[in-house]
Amino acid sequence: MAEVRQGCELFESGHRACGGCGPALAARLLLKATGENVIIVASTGCMEVFSTPYPETAWKVPWIHSLFENAAAVASGIDAALKKQGRDEKVVCVCGDGATFDIGVLCISGAFERGHDITYICYDNEAYMNTGIQRSGATPYDASTTTSPAGRCSLGNVHQKKDMPGILAAHGAPYVATASVAFPNDFMQKVERAVNTPGPTYVQVHAPCCTGWGFESGETLAIGKLAIETGLWVNYEMVDGEVVKAKKVRRKPVEEYLSRQRRFRHLFKPVRRDDEIAKIQAIADRNAEKFGIDIRRKE
């Protein structure tokens, strides 16, 4: 076999993510922030599958995958073992939104309540992408997925996104943050702060999925940026349960975000659903109000 030149990335080229994959970018960026002295605990999901078909691992740091829903519990055990052995590696879970918002909540709640020194990073692409774009507790209102499809009597997902950062802040987590791959430096700074804060910390990173959401692969960051500019995703930090910082924006109408994605196409065709778009605008307005993100023009 021809000699393969080794790269200098901790998350290596050669993984099998779709071109333009938000989660793959999140993996690369978060490892830049954690550095080498880390143990990654993965849940089953897109990232696990595209980065570790035996024996082709893309991870140049220690990495473990057990099941879909138990990353936080596995991390708890690793944390306890490292403590007993007097080791100082950072323990970082990297899990999708299905594993985090839905099936893994029990284990996450337990780990956060016990106060393990772990960082839990959820790469949020807002549906079960690995199994074919089914809705999760992180899927936004009206998004069409394969289990919440738009149809003659459906406008897509009927529920609003679960407030996972709020739930974990309520556990007493000393640091909780949201981020987006569209703002890579901000994301890396938040990961760095999270891993260096003792106790259980949480970072939820918006990771647009071109395949699942329906946009061109080159637009991953542009879509992520629009989510923030419309107020449908807010980048904020919570310290000891209080919001201490939120990214301010000059808000654009939510339509600019929705109209560029196939998952919201039914709101525009065959007939434009102004009523539904208004409901989503109201979600953005509530976000803006709650986090105070609006930059107001001087009167």
């Binding site: 880390v38 696990e48 078909p53 099941l67 138990n70 007993k84």
Partner: protein, 384 residues
């Protein structure tokens, strides 16, 4: 030193001497006395371990998996519904080749809900890749933990193990137990040397997924490790016998099988009752013996066939039922004796804590000798 001890406390005491670094367990009857005792030992600094008070059995075993992968010796204990909740993690721990040792205080599975003993819980995980050892009494329950750690952590095995002992019947019963000292245990069980571990200085990806190109070979490797575990169990049992004077050289153990026409086959605490019944029947001139299966996984089929080669009839006592077929041990003993011409009959007994007495054993022998079997024994027909 000989002490009168509750089964659960004997287990907790020996686990302490095994020096686990991480203990993760969730309370469930009748396992609670073990983990309460260990938690107290941690609270008193009698044991240098992290005790993780997990929020479920599912997390208990998941945490053990993580700690083991990070290079620590680990311990957990559960039973019944708790073990059922661990189902997915059990297969995973074995597949990831982590030498986790877990006590099972055997209990029935609902519905109907029952806290009392049978062996349905651990038997239901027979295909999961865990070594399964069954104890007859509290001494054996304690001793088997030492042997289990030795065998599981052997680099030619690297598999997890259940050490099974009957809930309440052993876990809550006081018996004399010869408890070794810490020095004696240290002399038998060396410190844990992980085969590989999560370590930033030497990165490794663990628990990757396997395509059809590799999956079967990985499963084959686990099965081979299970087969190798037989020899390692015999070796560890022999060394145990030499050091402590109690005999664990065999995967199975015969009792008065010489010249027996009929043999009973059983696992766990029922073996004590069967031995008494056998003694009485022998005194009455009946040629009866017992074959105790201590190691259910790996299944000692050749050893069973060899031990039973001279008997005419075999009566298997099963504290479990594979609904729609028969008892698991009976099925496997029949397979082990296939073609031998020996008649094998299966009896489902003692489910959900139903008492089994010496006279029941004698009745089962009578039934077997008449060729009546493959049945539930001891049903209260008046409520059917």
């Amino acid at each position: 030193m000989m002490e009168i001890m509750e089964g659960s406390h004997a287990v907790a005491e020996i686990v302490k001497y095994c020096r686990p670094q991480v203990i993760a367990a969730y309370p469930i009857t009748p396992q609670t006395h073990i983990v309460e005792a260990l938690a107290q030992m941690v609270a008193n600094c009698e044991i240098d371990a992290e005790y993780i008070t997990v929020e479920s059995e599912f997390s208990a075993l998941s945490a053990c998996l993580g700690a083991s992968a990070a290079g620590s010796r680990v311990y957990s204990a559960t039973t019944s519904q708790g073990l059922a909740l661990m189902f997915e993690v059990c297969f995973n721990v074995a597949g990831m080749r982590q030498p986790v040792v877990m006590s099972i205080a055997n209990r029935s599975l609902g519905a109907p809900l029952s806290i009392w003993n049978d062996q349905q819980d651990s038997i239901s995980l027979r295909d999961s890749g865990w070594i399964q050892l069954y104890a007859e009494d509290n001494q054996e329950a304690a001793d088997l933990h030492l042997i289990a750690y030795r065998v599981c952590e052997d680099h030619s095995v690297l598999l997890p193990a259940f050490v099974c002992f009957d809930g309440f019947i052993l876990s809550h019963t006081y018996e004399p137990v010869d408890m070794p000292t810490q020095e004696e245990v240290d002399g038998y069980l060396p410190p844990f040397v992980p085969y590989q571990r999560l370590d930033a200085k030497d990165p490794l990806s663990m628990g990757m997924y396997a395509t059809p190109e590799y999956y079967m070979e990985f499963r084959y490797e686990i099965d081979r490790a299970m087969q190798r575990a037989k020899q390692v169990l015999v070796r560890a049992g022999t060394e145990f016998s030499e050091q402590f004077g109690r005999d664990y050289t065999g995967l199975v153990e015969g009792y008065r099988l010489d010249g027996a026409d009929t043999a009973l086959v059983a696992m766990g605490s029922i073996c004590g009752t069967v031995k008494d019944a056998v003694d009485e029947m022998r005194d009455a001139g009946k040629k009866v013996g017992l074959l105790k299966i201590r190691t259910f996984r790996p299944f000692p089929a050749p050893e069973i066939a060899d031990a039973l080669r001279d008997v005419g009839t075999v009566a298997v006592l099963d504290k479990n039922i594979s609904l729609g077929n028969s008892g698991a041990v009976g099925t496997e003993v029949k397979a082990a004796l296939y073609g031998s011409g020996i008649r094998v009959l299966d009896y489902i007994i003692g489910l959900g804590g139903r008492d089994v007495r010496k006279e029941d054993i004698a009745k089962i022998v009578d039934l077997a000798e008449k060729g009546e079997g493959d049945m539930f024994y001891g049903l209260r027909t008046e409520v059917l």
